[in-house]
């Protein structure tokens, strides 16, 4: 009976991690800092969704996790390519 007491604490710790990422996202002096904060934010949100799926015993959250992983990576690459070249689709 470890998990029912452990899972809410872990979700709280991940919420703290999300708050730290959001702080860097709003503060970050350079554009690259903000992109990096977004990158970390989506990975942490994915982890939080997996914990939520464990808590509720639902597999729907894993589909959402796959989608977040794909779209987050595409977003990071698109932003970086835009800053590198000035256009996304070359």
């Amino acid at each position: 009976m470890i998990l029912p007491t452990l899972l809410p604490m872990l979700m709280a710790a991940l919420a703290l991690a999300l708050a730290l990422n959001a702080w860097r996202l709003f503060k970050g002096p350079a554009l690259t800092d903000r992109i990096l904060a977004l990158d970390t934010l989506y990975i942490n949100a994915l982890t939080l969704l997996v914990l939520l799926g464990l808590w509720q015993g639902s597999k729907l959250y894993f589909e959402v996790a796959v989608l977040i992983g794909l779209l987050g990576f595409i977003g990071t690459v698109a932003l970086s390519k835009y800053l590198l070249r000035g256009e996304i689709v070359e």
Binding site: M1, I2, L3, P4, L6, L7, L10, A13, L14, L16, A17, L18, L20, N21, W23, R24, A30, L31, T32, D33, I35, L36, A37, D39, T40, I43, N44, L46, T47, V50, L51, G53, L54, W55, Q56, G57, K59, F62, E63, A65, V66, G69, L70, F73, T76, V77, S80, K81, L83, L84
Partner: protein, 142 residues
């Protein structure tokens, strides 16, 4: 709380709890490093290594628990593989962007870089430094 999770054997619960703790600790430390460190190139370390490893540990625990309940799923494996492939790519792209945006903020070379530079200019390697043209042999005076 999922009632199926109450029927697990103790060892599976302990292993999953340890994996979840390690994963969340890594994610938290990575985010803390992203918020705390002073330079972009230092800040890149936290998310690109620690947070990815944290997500991997949590997903491994989830795969173990769902396999123990009796409904194994391969989505966790898919997500872990995708994350481990894409994290270095995005970190590399971000470093390229940072070097292009502000080339003066490039961190200084480590102290052993002079050894590397000397090794690059060793006669074994191709020498790219401009050299003085070889003296043209003059015809001996009569």
């Amino acid at each position: 709380m999922n009632p199926l999770l109450q029927t697990l054997p103790l060892w599976a619960e302990i292993v999953a709890a340890v994996l979840l703790l390690i994963g969340t600790a890594f994610a938290l430390v990575g985010s803390w490093g992203l918020a705390k460190l002073g330079d972009f190139y230092k800040r890149l370390h936290g998310p690109s290594k620690a947070t990815t490893l944290g997500a991997g540990c949590v997903l491994a625990a989830s795969a173990l628990l769902f396999a123990m309940i009796g409904t194994p799923s391969f989505h966790e494996l898919l997500v872990v593989m995708f994350l481990f492939i894409t994290a270095p790519v995005s970190a590399h792209l971000l470093v390229k962007v940072a070097l292009k945006q502000d080339p003066t903020a490039r961190p200084p070379l480590p102290p052993w870089a002079s050894i590397l530079r000397r090794a690059q200019h060793s006669p074994l390697e191709r020498d790219v430094s401009p050299r003085t043209p070889a003296p043209v042999p003059q015809a001996p005076p009569d």
